[in-house]
């Protein structure tokens, strides 16, 4: 890697490259892992910089917007593992989740106690708190009119709830 950069930039020594790389790492353009391998840093992606303004005064807004994200990025983490469901009933109403709400969930996450999860119960999806006390695992509703669910056999947690969306 270092010798490639050396020939690429016409440097005479690897030490010069090492210094350059050090600067780039400091500025966040490159990342260096614990084995010293390099990977691209934050310049990847669609970050706009001031230099691209074509006419008129450079707008300070452009620069500020570089640090903003879209609703999509805000709500969705791992895009390929993300799904949506519609909530039925009010078993989670004390958690602020009510009938008709959209929940954004992610598969492939190991749930921690206290997470709101989507579990498979009797061939249906159910949305509940995931609770773990010692060796006991159960699903807890957020509504005192409902009973906690203690699984008889294996409990299938399919996804973890990451966000709730309600449009008025």
């Amino acid at each position: 890697m270092y010798s490639e950069i050396m020939t690429l930039l016409g440097f005479k020594s690897k030490n010069a490259v090492f210094k350059l790389v050090g600067r780039l790492v400091d500025e966040g353009f490159l990342n260096k892992d614990n084995k010293g391998r390099l990977s691209p840093g934050s310049f990847y992606g669609a970050v706009r910089t001031l230099g691209y303004v074509e006419a008129g005064f450079p707008s300070p807004a452009e620069e500020e917007l570089a640090d903003t994200i879209t609703f999509d990025e805000y709500l969705v983490g791992n895009r390929e593992a993300t799904y949506i469901l519609k909530v039925r009933g009010d078993s989670m109403k004390d958690a602020g989740i009510v009938e008709g709400d959209m929940v954004i969930v992610e598969r492939n996450i190991t749930p921690r106690s206290g997470d709101i999860v989507i579990a498979e119960v009797d061939g249906e999806w159910t949305i509940k708190y995931f609770r773990k006390k010692g060796n006991v695992i159960f699903l807890e509703p957020a509504n005192k009119d409902f009973q906690p669910i203690y699984p008889k056999e294996e409990l299938k947690i399919s996804a973890v709830v990451k966000a709730v969306v309600r449009k008025y």
């Binding site: 593992a81 519609k86 909530v87 598969r107």
Partner: protein, 433 residues
């Protein structure tokens, strides 16, 4: 015995297990373990779960046949929107590991892992395992994967153990797989060639792979020479990473029920298909110079006509007027029809053409601009916001009247702000209580 390094190249073939049916089960846990069949809107089995396979159901079987042998089968209408969303996710997950991914079909892809052990700090086997784990857990269904030195071999690998198989085929073990595989199971070798090869004493894939170069060259044509090379571990077909952009032909067919012998109605069905075919053509900036249109009768007979034009076009009305002029040549008013279809061929990149004396080209270019706006409207307000008058009857007709009209779930369970035409690009798993 074939002599080869283990992985001079490392090619992966990934195949979704009964993909459409699996997408349905991934969405709806009550279907797990049941014989599930998709394709009810067409009246035939399009995809089926292993539970249905075990009961003797096969692809392309008619639904009433299925009902006889498997009365508890669950029939579902195809939900191509969801299948496409899952399909894109499959490609994207594989792209986390390598940019060399070939989107081979909606439920299959190839990936080239050559040289990635060091950057990913994993052996090829481990990379394949890791891809499979991501796919299985994030998509909620299983995939079968073959890892081998070439595409032809990788494809053998992904079929070797199904469902949910991961078959590693290093060069030194190839003979073990090939000797057990009948030669007709090799990708690209059809029944005719199989019969011919059998006559020459070639029965297993290994028999074929062990023939020498000159023998293959004198007995078979070039495509089979390529297969032979790939069976011997030499890459001939590279993983083609160009996203699907060039089609050799574009076809659109739609069945309607009840069947009809109403000329105007059938013509409007055809017109709708032509519009849809060109929507796709324009998306890939393609224009057609030749097309074939056909009608399918009640008893599954086809009547069709091929028309070659003197210049390429990307506008449906050019073709519809040609069809209208010659429609009577294939249409019989005493016949009942069940489907219409259009195939655009001789596709090439759409480019402004030379002017002609009659100004036809100018007119056509003008239409092209108009359809550009039609596409913009569709992007903003949904497909078919604007359509041709000739398609009116078909656009205002539910494609299947009566019992067959089955709408996929996704189009009936909507969130506030979603419409029948526009929905969030995230798979919907249904309701949770």
């Amino acid at each position: 015995m074939l002599k080869l390094f283990d992985f001079p190249r490392a090619i992966l073939h990934i195949d979704g297990d009964c993909f459409f049916a699996s997408c349905e089960v991934a969405k709806n846990p009550s279907l797990r373990g049941k014989p599930v069949i998709t394709g009810s809107e067409r009246g035939i089995v399009s995809s089926l779960t292993y539970e249905a396979k075990a009961r003797g159901v096969k692809r392309a079987m008619s639904l009433w046949e299925v009902k006889k042998i498997c009365p508890d089968a669950v029939f579902l209408p195809s939900d191509y929107e969801t299948y496409s969303l899952f399909s894109v996710r499959m490609y994207e997950i594989v792209r986390r590991y390598t940019s060399d991914v070939e989107e081979y079909s909606i439920d299959e892809c190839f990936a080239d892992l050559t040289g990635l052990q060091r950057p990913l700090n994993m052996s090829y086997e481990k990379i394949a395992e890791s891809i499979k784990r991501d796919l299985d857990t994030e998509l909620g269904m299983t995939f079968s994967i073959g890892l081998a030195p070439t595409k032809v071999l990788a494809k053998i690998g992904s079929k070797w153990k199904k469902p949910s198989g991961l078959t590693i085929m290093p060069g030194r073990n190839l003979h073990y797989f090939l000797e057990k595989l009948s030669v007709d199971k090799v990708w690209g070798i059809g029944p005719q060639t199989t019969a011919y090869l059998n006559k020459l004493g070639v029965r297993s894939a290994l028999d074929f792979a062990q023939k020498d170069f000159d023998w293959v060259k004198s007995c078979l044509s070039k495509p089979y020479l390529e297969i032979w090379k790939e069976l011997n571990g030499e890459v001939v077909n590279e993983v083609d990473t160009a996203r699907k952009s060039l089609y050799q032909s574009i076809s659109k067919t739609k069945t309607f029920t009840p069947q009809s012998s109403d000329k105007a109605f059938i013509l409007s069905q055809l017109s709708k298909n032509v519009e849809n075919a060109f929507i796709k053509a324009r998306r890939y900036k393609l224009a057609a110079k030749k097309f074939f249109f056909f009608l399918k009768t009640q008893d599954f007979q086809y009547a069709g006509l091929e028309i070659k034009m003197n210049r390429q076009t990307a506008s449906p009305n050019d073709i519809i007027s040609l069809i209208a002029n010659r429609f009577d040549e294939i249409f019989n008013p005493r016949q009942l029809y069940r489907a219409t279809g259009i195939i655009l061929t001789d596709l090439a990149e759409h480019k402004p053409s030379q002017l002609d004396i009659f100004g036809e080209v100018l007119k056509s270019d003008k239409y092209f601009k108009i359809f550009g706006s039609v596409d913009d409207m569709a992007a903003r307000y949904g497909k078919h916001t604007l359509f041709l008058g000739t398609s009116w009857q078909a656009m205002n007709f539910r494609q299947h009247q009566g019992g067959r009209e089955a709408k996929a779930d996704r189009k009936s369970v909507l969130f506030k702000g979603e419409t029948i035409r526009k929905r969030l690009a995230i798979p919907m798993l249904g309701e949770a209580w």
